[in-house]
């Protein structure tokens, strides 16, 4: 009862908060997604490499026992600060969709997922005074982008006995940025201007993963991924390519007691491979990133671990696309969540609330991400 109350309170929290949006997705390919389902988000991402509804490790699919579909919606409320001022922004994302199921006569699971690879949704507003024709005129400029990159993964996992699980995935990375630059003059003698451009991206990648179970209380997981390169078209004209990173991940999971599940993981991505390409295109470059996550899931009733467990976690990550050359942004987040299965476990909802703080020099933002996951096992 008290746990449900706490969860409900967390759900209501965003209504009480000032809301905001990310300025760290302005440069490069945008703000990177984490390919996590809500359950893993509630643990700070610590269970990402073990979570079958997340898309970080194809080997994790092996833990799916029945046909499962999952859908995630994330509402972000952030406050942004930079030398130009501050603002509150809100954003809505559908960062994760997964459908997977076991093959009956074979110890394998196949599935596909649709994840947010990067997000580049923002609107930047400035105002200044210019002197066209020698007369001061106030102008308001907005530069906006809508879109990002999506990661469509087709993956399979093969379970070798009760200890080993191997997985592989094929990724199609595509998306677009619809860019708009608008200038509005305070003097009505001037018309406002609106210019548009569209960047479209395509690329493919592969991923492999493995999970090793040591008894019933301890497991290790690892993954590697290569995303090749991204073809970049601007208004239907090829403008170049951007090397995408190799990713490596390692995680461990420990269940010291039946009620408590602990996990932690590290992900490293070689985004610096894109540095020269982005610089050549006029960007500010990219740097390698590391993401460290840890979390726990506490189930009050070990026989029914799906009934309102308490999830807690935290993560720290560096950000790939720098706002200022020579610097690198980073993100820190703490999260909490829970979930519930019902209708004979054929349906379930998960909720996660995450407080994130991001900064790079004088640029910072913080806020809450509220994620709701719906899963169905028909």
């Amino acid at each position: 009862m008290s746990r449900a109350f706490v969860i409900a309170l967390l759900g209501l929290l965003p209504q009480l908060l000032a809301a905001q949006s990310s300025q760290f997705g302005v440069r490069g390919l945008g703000f990177p997604g984490r390919a996590l389902a809500v359950r893993a988000q509630g643990t700070g991402g610590g269970f990402g490499l073990f979570d079958p509804e997340s898309s970080q490790n194809p080997a994790a699919l092996a833990y799916i026992a029945a046909l499962t579909s999952g859908f995630t919606i994330t509402q972000g409320f952030r406050s942004v600060e930079n030398p130009a001022g501050s603002a509150s922004v809100r954003s809505t994302r559908f960062p994760q969709l997964v459908v997977a199921g076991p093959i009956r006569t074979f110890p394998a699971v196949v599935g596909f997922s649709f994840s947010n690879y990067t997000s580049r949704d923002f609107t930047l507003a400035t105002s200044q005074t210019i002197n066209p024709r020698g007369t001061p005129v106030n102008v308001s400029d907005t530069f906006s982008s809508r879109g990002g990159l999506n990661d469509f993964r087709i993956a399979g996992s093969y379970r070798l006995g009760t200890e080993w699980a191997f997985g592989a995935g094929f990724h199609i990375i595509s998306g677009s940025n619809r860019l708009t630059s608008t200038r509005v003059f305070a003097d009505p003698s001037f018309l406002s201007s609106r210019q548009r451009s569209e960047l479209s991206f395509t690329g493919v990648g592969i991923s492999v993963g493995v999970t090793r179970q040591f008894g019933s209380t301890f497991a290790l997981s690892a993954m590697a991924r290569s995303d090749g390169h991204l073809n970049v078209d601007r208004d239907s004209t090829r403008t170049g390519t951007v090397d995408l990173p190799y990713s490596f991940g390692f995680g461990l999971r420990w269940r010291p007691i039946a009620k408590l599940d602990l996990a932690g993981q590290t992900l490293v991505r070689t985004w610096s491979g894109a540095n020269s390409d982005l610089l050549a295109m006029g960007g500010t470059g990219a740097r390698n990133t590391v993401e460290i996550s840890a979390g726990m899931e506490y189930a009050s009733d070990p026989r029914r671990p799906y009934r309102l467990p308490l999830r807690l976690g935290a993560h720290y990550a560096t950000l790939p696309f720098t706002l200022v050359p020579g610097q690198q942004g980073h993100e820190f987040g703490v999260s909490a969540g829970s979930g519930l299965r019902f209708a004979q476990q054929r349906a379930g909802v998960d909720l996660a609330v995450e407080y994130v703080g991001r900064s790079e020099g004088v640029y910072s933002e913080n806020g809450f991400l509220i994620s709701l996951g719906i899963s169905v096992r028909p």
């Binding site: 209501l12 930047l124 982005l278 295109m281 006029g282």
Partner: protein, 405 residues
């Protein structure tokens, strides 16, 4: 428990799916591609290709009749020939004769100098034989004191509206129509005022011409109200004549006047603007040869129309600008005494951009055409001083350098 879950979900959903993504930008760090740059550039009309053409609207087609007494150093007089008045009226399938009780003339004052009091209209009875070829000199002899039939005072409080005079009794002799005139009444109108001024009277071209009304009693046996009739006649022809006919100067750009003149200007914009620029302001700058003159409180309007096909004087022009021609053409008032004229024409210039076969040309005209005391004449590209040549001042943005990515 289920209710709690529903409430929980609702709170999350209701907490705000509406996006709000706008945040302040710290440029240039947070402005991919930089910021828009506005460029200013002046383009002189293509040398030697600007011209004036006249004869578009004749004085008898104008929406107003101009009357003046030295406003521009010369006099203008109006001539009105009314429709023929029949000598009988059909009543109960029978043509009946009539006896004239009274006659009235009414005129619509379209515009006048409202700052000037003591303005009179002098009505002269003239022969109804004038036409569009008649000149001021041809009719000089008609405007003699003996022909003056009335002086119609324009109330000082009247800005615009109808003025009327009535003849009855013995005065009817002054407006009697001779049999040789076949029932046609014609008037000449001058103006008298303490200082030179002008007045615009309504004309048939504007649908508000003078009205000649005859009040009659029919020659019928009964004594009912059917005996009383009024015969209202509008102008069959009206025009005005000027003491100093307009002489077009081919070296300048005349706009307006009578017959009305229009000016055709051609521009040659570079491809970097035609293909890539977003024009945010376009100002057509013209320099009058002499300060703008005209009737105070009744300024004319200068209008620019885009040329659809450049075939010289008869070039068809678009009635509007903007997408689908939904917006009115660029128009601005010509202030009396102005020594420069700036006409904002960005919507017109936009029509020249991109993949279009439209010529980069425009036609200047005056409104009301052939019905304004303002007759601007502008320097053309043939002027010795480049600073007074017609020019287009553009403020534009080139393609925004969107960062990739």
């Amino acid at each position: 428990m289920k209710a709690r879950i529903v409430g929980l979900l609702a709170s999350v959903v209701l907490s705000g799916c509406q996006e709000k993504l706008t945040s302040p930008a710290d440029c240039p760090t947070l402005c991919p591609g930089g910021q828009p740059q506005v460029y200013d550039e002046v383009f002189i009309a293509t040398p030697g290709t600007d011209s004036s053409f006249s004869g578009y609207v004749q004085t008898h087609q104008a929406t107003s009749l101009l009357i003046s007494n030295g406003l521009q150093g010369f006099e203008e007089r109006a001539l009105i020939r009314f429709l023929a008045r029949a000598d009988s009226v059909s009543l109960r399938d029978t043509l009946r004769g009539y006896t004239i009780d009274s006659v009235a003339f009414s005129f619509m004052v379209a515009a006048r100098d409202t700052n000037l009091d003591g303005v009179d209209l002098l009505l002269y009875r003239i022969a109804p034989t004038f036409d569009s070829a008649s000149s001021f000199a041809d009719l000089t002899l008609a405007f003699v004191p003996g022909s003056l039939i009335d002086t119609l005072h324009v109330p000082d409080t009247l800005n615009a509206g109808v003025v009327r005079t009535v003849f009855q009794g013995a005065d009817l002799n002054r407006v009697q129509i001779e049999a040789s005139d076949s029932g046609k009444m014609a008037l000449g109108v001058r103006i008298a005022s303490p200082t030179p001024t002008g007045i615009r009277l309504g004309a048939s071209g504007g649908g508000n011409g003078a009205v000649f009304t005859t009040y009659v009693t029919l020659d019928v046996p009964d004594t009912g109200t059917a005996r009383l009739r009024s015969l209202a006649l509008g102008p069959a022809f009206n025009t005005y004549v000027s003491e100093v006919p307009q002489v077009p100067d081919t070296m300048q750009l005349a706009v307006g006047g009578a017959p009305s003149a229009r000016s055709l200007l051609r521009f040659s914009l570079p491809s970097r603007i035609r293909d890539s620029a977003t024009i945010v302001r376009a100002t057509l700058e013209l320099t009058p040869v002499a300060p703008i003159t005209g009737l105070p409180t009744d300024p004319a309007r200068l209008t620019a129309r885009a040329v659809l096909a450049d075939v010289g004087a008869k070039s068809p022009v678009s009635s509007g600008v903007g997408i689908g021609g939904q917006l009115p053409p660029p128009t601005d008032t010509l202030d009396i005494g102005a020594t420069s004229v700036n006409l904002e024409a960005v919507r017109l210039v936009e029509l020249w951009l991109g993949a279009t076969t439209r010529p980069s040309a425009l036609v200047l005209s005056l409104a009301p055409e052939a019905a304004s005391f303002t007759r601007p004449v502008f320097f053309s590209t043939r002027a010795a001083d480049p600073a007074v040549r017609p020019r287009l001042r553009l403020s534009y943005l080139l393609s925004f350098p969107f960062e990739t990515p």
